[in-house]
Symmetry: C2
Subunit: 315 residues, 2 copies
């Protein structure tokens, strides 16, 4: 069964690791948020692409969810001596990825080509596509002014109040090669448990993607990243509240109402079922909190079974 | 006393380390060969500038004479997985230098500005100038075709026969800012014990430098890098022989005849004295083989004394 997943970083990767272990990863295509991308030290850095790739390659630091396991930071310490910003933690092995990607792109290759080269070198069998080859930097409007997303999240530890979110240049961006085709042909489309505002939001904002998902709505299933009114990972809960949203599963469901027929929530949110079904979506209750590998595999199996049993709206 | 030194890499740095310890390093300006520069992994690498800087900063790997002491190579191992060439040994800390230099130059800074930033960050007090801000890559003509100098030296371990040497684009190159001025005003100019063909040769080939040295000939002293018919460091001896030169102190003296009044040779080459003096140069016998730090300091003291005592032709 051809499966396409829409993914941000750490939260998505947990589920994707499970999925790639309980199904043939060669039938899996992952469309990854690149709104988080940033150029630092002259190097093109794609945090979500790398988190997904490193996780599926089995080299990720499992404590942090990003970077390489057993990593050293000698280059970064030295860069700090040159007065370069060191708030973005680039490890020595990780730097090789950015050096390689930057060299490829300076030679005229697309971000897609670089991502493909990296996942192949690391032995990842699933296809990994950036949402777009054009830069679409996510900017966070705060009382201190507009911040690049990484500045907001990493440098400022998500402390400034979020007044607004924009995806710079998204009007001119095009889905990367393979994105619309894979969405067209997938038997199952899964929106991973990622931040709806700044991980899935940028993907949906690339012209053509949301429209395509609307047409495939019956084949789209989302896993809710908000459990019991809190985000499983990262500042989603705080951002939702600051932007005036309810911090609830129902609130996320509403954002996906037009593109998604099946919405998976955790048992602690069973009380949201009715609100979700009133949106014309099927609410499915499964354990979505993934700590151990077996949790990740179980949720993946549950999702596959929902598609196989036609419990989703998929024909 | 203002001193200017012309330098290649490891051989020169031994002497310069001694010199910077027995005189005020703020009165020392070092003009460094950049013919060895190469772009690898999209990064601007200046091996001789870095060897000189790291040596004077006290961070150099004293066994190899290049790179950082206690260095790791995690990024390079990872780059090799991406199919990038790994024959040029770039350590993790060393990579920070190249990343920083490349970022500065991509932002429009000159190689000089980058070199200045790097030596200041590493706390080096001597001024370090590239010979030119324009790229002048040294190419080695071999039976296998033309090789970039680093390909010849590092990748091919100086094995191919040298048929010719060229400095690409040197006609259009200009001395970097400060080079001619420092040569004009220096009380003492020292040609370090570096390969005359591929370390000092490129510096002398930059339009204006050789002419300036001719005018300052009485203030120029060279330390011979050939001792007892062998090079102290690197493939100078082999290259000289392959290009039809005698492998001798006298042979090197001849190359500097027009720009240098004083030529320092090792006691083992005392027999060359007459040949050197016939070139109109003063031959001075001092211990030039530098192993321990005290050897480096002693040779530096000897050189300073020669200038102070007017044993050189300097007025």
């Amino acid at each position: 069964m051809e499966i396409v997943a829409l993914a941000g970083g750490v939260g998505a990767s947990k589920f994707l690791l499970g999925l790639s272990r309980v199904t043939d990863p060669r039938e899996l295509t992952i469309i990854v948020n690149t709104g988080d991308d940033i150029v630092l030290h002259g190097l093109a850095i794609s945090p979500d692409l790398d988190i997904v790739t490193y996780t599926l390659a089995g080299v990720v630091n499992s404590e942090t969810g990003w970077g390489f396991t057993g990593e050293t930071f000698h280059a970064l310490e030295q860069l700090a001596r040159f007065g370069s910003p060191s708030w973005f933690h680039l490890g020595d092995r990780d730097l090789a990825t950015h050096i390689h990607r930057t060299a490829m792109m300076r030679s005229g290759a697309s971000l897609s080509k670089a991502a493909e080269s990296i996942r192949q070198a690391l032995g990842v069998q699933a296809k990994i596509l950036p949402m777009s080859d054009q830069p679409v930097p996510t900017m966070i409007q705060t009382p201190e002014g507009r911040l690049n997303f990484q500045e907001y999240l990493v440098q400022r530890r998500a402390e400034p109040e979020v007044l607004g979110i924009s995806f710079e240049g998204v009007e001119q961006a095009r889905p990367a090669r393979g994105v619309l085709e894979s969405l067209e042909h997938a038997a199952a489309i899964v929106i991973c448990p990622s931040n709806p505002l700044i991980s899935i939001g940028p993907i949906l904002a690339v012209p053509g993607i949301r429209e395509k998902l609307r047409k495939r709505r019956n084949n789209v299933l989302a896993i809710c990243p908000i459990v019991g009114g809190k985000s499983l990972k990262g500042p989603s809960d705080r951002m939702l509240a600051q932007l005036g949203f309810d911090v609830s599963a129902g609130s996320v469901a509403r954002m996906y109402q037009d593109i998604c027929a099946t919405f998976v929530i955790d048992p602690v949110d069973a009380g949201e079922t009715q609100a979700i079904e009133q949106l014309g979506m099927k609410a499915i209750i499964r354990k979505t909190v993934m700590n151990a590998l077996k949790d990740k595999e179980q949720l993946a199996r549950d999702v596959l079974e929902l598609f196989a049993s036609k419990a989703t709206g998929a024909a």
